[in-house]
């Protein structure tokens, strides 16, 4: 498929996810359920690109992330599809790697910043030890140099080297998140996954943390996938973005396009929630709640809440098709308006 790269870089693909399905299959006290958290998602991310993933909570963003970084453990399992990374020209399916390859790739190539920074750091280990555990083997330098390097890195991120001697619980939330960012970037990985990195933080800190992330990303020229429900963040930070609804990608494109001109009614709703200068139109909320993924509605999963619902929406679910260069939408109404007339 043809996409238009965000920067003037050659479209060097770092991640390509194809038709990924990941379900939670639980069996507890007789009640067995199958939650289709990720249901046939395809996307790709290029080098040095920040890709944003939006959507309200429990739409499968986090699950998608988990699957991408192969952080799944039962009952979550991959039902179909693949996750391909391309690091230094080597194509690899993350689910085909053996433990050794995986470990050597993690953090060197692929690092994460997780949601809930409160307890991503081992409460009984000092920050320094965490750095050592995570990065030492990749840097491949004797300890003193390594520590010097760490401190340098922290300094660049405007963090006191002193915090190395602290225990996580002795740091503020913002501090902890900055430490995590430092931790994630210290090995200059090719790809960083950031899952709601700013959610738990207050606005001021949020801004500052985001700034930091952008900086880091620019400095080490890595690609990044940034998950947050906050469209504002996307607008400010990401190059391209995708919008998920009920485990599916409903719209994807350059952030500017998506925000300027959202096609999917859900996207429209999300974008509308953005405050704009000089906007006086009354915002009307979207009634209804996202569907239960254990028993999703037939056809388009959005149709029960959709203002422009049509029969076809109730029957079959719309494919993701290009509506403009690099701008894909999955909505009957948006893609073939004539269908409405047919109805």
């Amino acid at each position: 498929m043809n996409t238009v790269p965000a920067q003037v870089k050659g479209p060097e693909r770092v991640l390509s996810v194809t038709n990924l399905r990941a379900y939670y299959q639980t069996q507890y006290f007789g009640i067995s359920r199958e939650v289709r958290a990720v249901d046939g998602v395809s996307l790709h991310i290029d080098r040095n690109e920040i890709y944003g993933l939006a959507g309200e909570s429990s739409c499968g963003k986090t699950t998608l992330i988990k699957t991408i970084v192969r952080a799944i453990r039962p009952p979550l399992s991959i039902v179909e599809g693949s996750v391909m990374f391309n690091f230094a020209g080597r194509e690899c399916d993350i689910y085909r790697l053996n433990r050794h390859e995986l470990d050597s790739m993690r953090w060197r190539r692929l690092a994460c910043i997780l949601q809930g920074s409160m307890n991503v750091l081992n409460p009984v280990r000092r920050v320094r030890q965490s750095f050592i555990d995570f990065a030492f083997r990749h840097i491949g330098q004797p300890m003193p140099q390594f520590l010097a390097l760490i401190e340098g890195h922290l300094a660049r991120l405007r963090l006191e080297p002193a915090i190395l001697d602290n225990y996580p619980h002795e740091l503020s939330g913002g501090m902890r998140q900055r430490v995590t960012i430092a931790l994630a970037s210290v090995c200059r990985p090719d790809f960083i996954v950031a899952d709601e990195p700013t959610t738990a933080l207050d606005v001021v800190v949020q801004k500052d943390v985001l700034g930091l992330m952008r900086e880091v990303q620019r400095e080490i020229r890595s690609s990044m996938i940034l998950v947050t429900h906050d469209i504002g963040v996307h607008a400010n930070v990401t190059d391209r973005m995708g919008i998920m609804y009920a485990g599916r990608l409903v719209e994807e494109g350059r952030t500017v396009d998506v925000i300027r001109n959202p096609r999917h009614p859900y996207a429209v709703h999300l974008v509308a929630s953005l405050p704009r200068i000089g906007d006086t139109t009354q915002k009307q909320g979207l009634e209804g709640a996202p569907p239960n993924l254990a028993a999703p509605p037939p056809g388009c999963r959005f149709h029960p809440r959709c203002p422009l619902v049509m029969d076809v929406c109730r029957k079959e679910h719309p494919p993701l098709v290009d509506v403009a260069a690099g701008h894909r939408v999955a909505c009957w109404a948006a893609t073939q308006p004539d269908a409405r007339r047919a109805a």
């Binding site: 952080a71 953090w107 994460c112 409160m118 991503v120 081992n122 280990r125 555990d133 995570f134 619980h169």
Partner: protein, 334 residues
Amino acid sequence: MNAYATYALKRLLQFALVVFIGINLAYLITHATPIDPVEQTVSAATAFGNTSPEAIAMMRKSLREIYGLEGNLWNQYAIFWQRVLVGDFGPSLSAFPTPVSTLIGRALPWTVGLLSVSTILAFALGNLLGGLAGYFADSRLLKIAGLAVMAVHPIPYYIVAFVVLIAFGYVWPVLPISGGYRINITWGWNADFILSVVSHAILPVTSLVLVGIGGWFMGMRSLVSNVVTEDYVTYAELAGVSRGKILGAYVMRNALVPQVTGLAMSLGSIFNGAIITEQVFGYPGIGTLLISAVHAGDYSLVVGIASVSIVAVSTAVLFIDLVYPLLDPRVKVS
């Protein structure tokens, strides 16, 4: 005043309270016993030999004086505390005039040895196995091991000790079933003596460990199975930190924290186990001494033993409490 100091002070007060209540309980109960040490002595003296009655009366009177049983309960109580504070429990009445402290001093090392060895073994093995079982949840070997220890766990010390005794002392007589070392062995750090002591300790220790291990195993296993779902473990895994390090420094390390509290909590009942085990294996130590003291109605000895064991146990607990913050840095702030 800093957080740790307040914490430590709290523990110290608790310690003092335990000791106070404990020793008083022991004192009251023992002084409520109907056993009269003088009668015990008199009958010991007259059980076989022939003695004319008025002679007995005379002997009884003089013994009362010697044993210092004159005076009412209250000033006996006062005297008692004065003595306890300097660690002197007066003369034993069934081994008069040998001081109680001497008798206890002779027996204590054996009990402490037996207890510490078996407790440490049980704690270490239990937590190790349990940790592994929780982490490698689908290892068949560990599942079987788990079933085994859990089957033994609920069975009381006496039964286990008894079965072990029969198995290795009678059915398959390979180990000594009585005493702490061989007759006429020369004491000292020679191989013969040590070997003898070790071989005599195997069965008692085994039975104590068998019972003890299960609790730690199960505790650790469920703790670990919870800790592995914590974010910091997931995160470390995402960072490709080595399995060993994750298991050791992340999972077990964190799961160990509550286990140590558990250890402090259970020391008391472990001590009970030791008493019974000693009784079953005729092992020299506090337990055997206590039972014989009770039989002899030697309440100064009984109070001594009860007090010493209470102090010993609660000191161990205090120690654990005081090192606990080193294990869990969060304690300081909470």
